[in-house]
């Protein structure tokens, strides 16, 4: 059974803290993605990676960075967390190629106080 796991389901951090969200997939997928989900705004792409150490910005990269040192792991980093980054964060992975489905992790609900 395919799996995308995320390090935490719920996370509470203080303003200004550095925050790491981890995502691991066990399907040997080339592509990995980080989305942010907010009510009424849908799924917005933050960053994606198409290979180890390769990344591209999505639609809302400001305030975030990513790291992909190993194929199975993709990390989202909030350099200095702010209250407007309180959100649900979803990781996903997918085989390279147009006709393949994307698998999502369970999400991390991050609250920044």
């Amino acid at each position: 059974d395919v799996k995308v796991t995320q390090s935490s389901r719920y996370l509470v951090k203080r303003t200004g803290e550095k925050v790491f969200l981890e995502c691991v997939q066990d399907m040997d997928h080339e592509n990995m993605f980080w989305y942010r989900q907010d009510p009424g705004l849908g799924l917005r792409l933050i960053y994606f990676s198409y290979d180890v150490k390769m990344k591209e910005k999505g639609d809302i990269p400001e305030g975030y960075s990513v790291s992909r040192e190993k194929k199975e792991r993709f990390s989202l980093i909030l350099e200095s967390a702010s209250t407007n980054q309180t959100s649900m964060y979803l990781c996903a992975s997918r085989t390279s190629g147009r006709a393949y489905e994307q698998y999502f992790g369970p999400g991390t609900r991050l609250t920044v106080t």
Partner: protein, 110 residues
């Protein structure tokens, strides 16, 4: 740019049909449909590709109009289990990333 979904929300009775639309301001190369139930991760429903190829669940149907840059998802004889938020995502020529819309909330009443 996010594709535009309509309607934003719809309430149906069990057994009724629903159509969810997705339109893009850019040329479409692929359209991806997902359903998310409350508190769960989005789950794949269907992929439609430029050129006519489709891949997905047998009980779900969808259309892809390349000229109009639109896709529609058809849910017939809806069941209670169809409730959730439906997202369409569009892929560009490089297909590496999928940009999702804001979602359509579907609520099925018994």
């Amino acid at each position: 740019q996010q594709p535009v979904q309509s309607p934003q929300a719809v309430i149906l009775r069990e057994g009724e049909d629903a159509v969810i639309n997705c339109s893009s301001s850019k040329a479409l190369y692929s359209v991806h449909w997902y359903r998310q139930k409350h508190g769960e991760a989005p789950v794949f429903l269907m992929i439609l590709l430029k050129g006519g190829e489709q891949k997905g669940h047998e009980k779900i149907s969808a259309s892809f109009n390349e000229k109009k840059q639109q896709s529609s998802l058809y849910l017939t004889a809806s069941q209670l289990s169809y409730s959730g938020t439906y997202f369409c995502g569009t892929g560009g020529p490089r297909d590496d990333k999928i940009i999702f819309g804001k979602g359509t909330r579907l609520h099925i009443l018994p």
